[in-house]
Symmetry: C2
Subunit: 348 residues, 2 copies
């Protein structure tokens, strides 16, 4: 055992064994019409016997195609992204593409590095969701100049033309806040992520719009930016809680931010939804198991992933005729146990 560090066998190896040429073998293996079925059978049989595995590196170099697409996401341990990626992977598989995945960890430097590597690997297309801190878009322009198809999803650069698949962030935020207002809440705060990122910007815009429409004042000290993760929610709540005047409701820009609020509130001995209430945007399957179960806007993660891949595929297939395109998939309100003030009134 151990002895057989067998060198990878090549087309030549099996050609020699059959006393035919490399080319014949190559064609036979790819079921090329040139080759007689007898030859094909022979070739395939000893290829199997020898345990031949084609060298994709060589194949790709020669064929100038990698059948590979690059994926860049800010985070993985986040239900929304995990779900997106899962659907991207299965869509890719269905179309015979492989995925090279990279995680930027919300760090723009990693993001750039990864994109460069992916470009060097000659991926045929790129699927990107940018970090919460990406403000320099020059890499993205670079990619475009190179002619490599890109589709952004969920978190996209603003102010430049892109292919993208997103949810209706602003409109959905409006719907959510309208629901909150109708439920009887008046003092509403927003933990807003970063407004230089589209999702932060749009959701905040929706928040403001809904308040204005509901004749409620917009209080600057109740709009707190700081990021999209658990820590951001935690910090923001701690910051908010030192003041006397607590809002009745907080609209968290993401599910992790909402979790951060839960954590901080627990530490401070404040009860949700009695002392302060929470709704959020996006998230996943766990909302309904939370205590209390969150009321939230449910992002169609699977759809976003799948559509993003399909959009990329479209461009891959018709690079010439292709025109830039944005797809918007609406989110849906899911009512849980938070944001129930209206019920309380009813009971009284």
């Amino acid at each position: 055992m151990g002895a057989t560090k067998n060198k990878n066998i090549t087309l030549d190896d099996i050609a020699r064994r059959l006393k035919v040429s490399k080319v014949t073998v190559s064609k036979a293996l790819r079921d090329h019409p040139d080759i007689s079925s007898t030859t094909k059978r022979e070739v395939q049989s000893i290829a199997a016997k020898l345990g031949y595995v084609p060298n994709l590196i060589a194949r790709n170099l020669s064929a100038k195609s990698s059948r590979t697409i690059g994926l860049v996401v800010p985070k993985l341990a986040h239900h929304f992204f995990a779900t997106c990626i899962e659907s991207i992977c299965s869509a890719a598989n269905a179309s015979q593409y492989d995925i090279v995945m990279t995680v930027s960890q919300e760090n723009p430097e990693n993001e750039i590095k990864h994109i460069q590597t992916l470009l060097a690997m000659r991926v045929e297309g790129l699927l990107i969701s940018i970090t919460g801190n990406t403000t320099d878009y020059s890499v993205f322009k670079d990619i475009k100049k190179r002619g490599v198809p890109v589709v952004f999803f969920d978190r996209i650069p603003v102010g430049i033309e892109t292919n993208h698949v997103i949810t209706d962030d602003r409109a959905a935020a409006v719907r959510l806040i309208e629901f909150v207002i109708q439920a009887g809440y008046r003092k509403i705060a927003h933990f807003a992520g970063y407004s230089h990122t589209n999702i932060g910007y749009e959701r905040q815009a929706g928040f403001r719009q809904a308040l204005t429409a509901g004749n409620l004042p917009i209080r600057a000290e109740w709009i707190i930016e700081g990021g999209f993760g658990e820590q951001a929610g935690y910090d923001a709540f701690k910051k908010l809680a030192v003041r006397k005047d607590l809002p009745e409701m907080i609209f968290a820009v993401t599910f992790p931010v909402a979790l951060g609020i839960f954590e901080a509130a627990r530490e401070l001995g404040l009860k949700i939804p009695d002392d302060v209430d929470v709704v959020c945007f996006g998230g996943g399957q766990f909302h309904r198991y939370l205590s209390p179960a969150l009321t939230f806007m449910n992002q169609p993660a699977s759809d976003i992933g799948e559509q993003a891949f399909n959009l990329l595929l479209e461009e891959l297939r018709a690079p010439e005729t292709y025109a830039q395109k944005g797809i918007v998939i609406p989110s849906q309100l899911v009512i849980g146990e938070t944001c129930r003030k209206i019920k309380v009134y009813n009971k009284k």
Copy 2:
């Protein structure tokens, strides 16, 4: 705009521009000691100006190394795996490796297909967590015969020698069930996943061992196999609930299985932990936000991922002297709001 479908520029392009040879450029770009710093500077400067991006496909073919490692996991939208993968990715980045990720969707056929693709891509090593349905290990033997280093993590093949990183499934299950028994529970069921998978087998073995040690009978009808996902927990609970004699406690083999129980119990109008109680193995950051918060064995997902990569790296670096190795990282009991019978007694 659009016009500059600029062909990728190559070493030759920049060599010609500088009237030096390809080789010089190649070396200069890789900071080879052969080259004078003047030349290097010149080369690097116009490489940058031209927007040169090395072609890794060509590089890898020539250098016979891909700096790439293949990852195969059964599922992504599962906190344990997402966390594992995140740590694998960052460990890989730190060592200048790229990750080609594939998701088998708990389907052994996909698993095989992905492994073959990865092998064809000439990944330098493989990190695998097998599906709950993998029973045919011939692919794994194949890989070994090829001499490609593999490390399995969490879900590993049983009965063959492997490099692997796992948690102390059996011992941890014993600790968990001992805790349950000490808390005063006597009628304990187990939703056991599949016993042909190591985690299912070992956890069930721990369960049995602890019952026996506690002088409790092992009731076959209270050990239900069926998978590691939410659906499995849901189905098992529905199946169990039609009988009159309900256990006081269910030990779920994974966190998703526990969620499935929550779901089914809710539908049936049964309260956790009062009507039936639940503990589980593994999971993630959400346990404490559940209602009720679960008591569970916490798997060190991040550590498992990181160590798995490091183990692979070891073998990659010293393929000759390398000996097969298994690493076990213990799980830790986290006490939540389920499994609190003992408290109830205390209060009485």
